[in-house]
Symmetry: C2
């Protein structure tokens, strides 16, 4: 039998990230438990990304394979069946099917992340845990201009957390926009892949630009020199959303 292909959404606040780990609650662990219970056999859940603790997902792709014979659940009933056993902060949006060989991490064209920043010295109770509050005024146009420097095929070594063991640090950023609506600043970036903490370091660097501490030339130099020390701080996880999966021609 082929595997199920799910799109899910989750509020990451309560979780130690996507991936199963001992002594911590994770989204993958919740999905495994829910799938085991609905399908009545051991299920193997594979995700498109390993989001960090506190990171959210509006659209996340994962597959469910079966180690045994699953209960017969009509495809269109799978989301509701899983949602009744999942906690309220995780939801299965759709259920399709894919070949056994499909891997949700490598079978896609890329991903789009959104980082939400609340640019205010006053807390908004409705944004707590859902946006990073930054009190000093930020120039969104300056940040947007610097974000454009990051678009394209580059070596993003400067934007990778120290200690990562990835060897090829080149990626293609398809688009990177910064927009402001009132106090809310949205950073939207899509790429064929992301290094560890790449979005959070890029946003931290753009904040420096929004404060007038860095300009487009600095961004080009940071990319060229590839030194993490030149880039800005890693912003908190709470503002980060895996927003959209960019599908390729062969994605189911």
């Amino acid at each position: 039998m082929s595997k199920l292909l799910l799109t899910i959404s989750y509020l990451g606040t309560r979780y130690a990230g996507w991936q199963v780990q001992p002594n911590a609650d994770t989204v993958q662990a919740e999905l495994c438990r829910a799938a085991d219970s609905v399908f009545g056999c051991r299920c193997l859940v594979t995700g498109c990304s390993r989001t960090d603790a506190g990171v959210h997902a509006r659209e996340f792709l994962c597959t469910v394979g079966f180690d045994g014979t699953p209960n017969a659940v009509p495809r269109d009933r799978v989301p509701a069946a899983l949602n009744t056993v999942l906690p309220d902060d995780i939801s299965v949006l759709t259920c399709g099917e894919c070949e056994d060989g499909f891997h949700p991490r490598y079978g896609i064209r890329g991903k789009e992340y959104v980082y939400l920043l609340h640019n205010s010295h006053i807390r908004d109770p409705f944004l707590e845990g859902r946006a990073y509050r930054f009190p000093s005024p930020l120039d969104a146009d300056a940040m947007a201009e610097c974000a454009r420097e990051l678009i394209g095929y580059h070596d993003f070594a400067a934007f990778m957390a120290a200690g990562s063991k990835i060897e090829d640090t080149r990626r293609t950023v398809f688009d990177f926009t910064v927009t402001r609506e009132g106090d809310l600043v949205s950073f939207t970036v899509s790429a064929d892949g992301f290094l560890y903490n790449m979005v959070r370091i890029m946003v931290g660097t753009l904040i420096d630009a929004g404060l007038g501490k860095k300009n487009a030339g600095d961004l080009r130099r940071i990319l060229e020199e590839g030194d993490r020390a030149n880039a800005g701080p890693t912003v908190p996880a709470c503002g980060l959303y895996l927003n959209r999966i960019l599908k390729g021609d062969d994605t189911p």
Copy 2:
């Protein structure tokens, strides 16, 4: 000394409503505790409304009076000072001043409530506790048409929770709109005052209209007959927001 006039905002999920009560956490109790601590004397906090358990406020007006001599805190530092001791789901947005005789319930022209409904059979983790999920498709135009019947000076007895002891059940609804954006339906109603559960019963009745079970003529008859039994169900608190205070000419 005159009193302080605060606008605050809160996520009501964790609270048994605004008003202090024994053995339950309330927004008023949190504000009293915070004000006592910041001003170093016993503070009297009075609100513009008694929101129910689970109801939210984007803009809520309250006064802080002092039973003693308060610490000198510059007015513009009051929000930040209170916010450092308040929990994350309550925030003081602004601080002004008002006459001792001003009551935030009677000194205003009215209030605007918003009710958020998520019209979907699939849960959205980001709307849990913040919108009421209703799975059956609703006709927003039909609801908007019926909402217009509620605008004006009417006896709203049919839209008051049974057991209320209010004698004069006449109120003026200034405006009532229903709009849809994707799966999210917003009911926005402003009035000079609201009876107990009035918004939640009006929305429950409009849902019947959205399902095709009631029309504009039915709404007129429900108003005229004044019988709670004719109106629709009381929808859950989680979708309700005190959205805005309508200030009169003499509101500070």
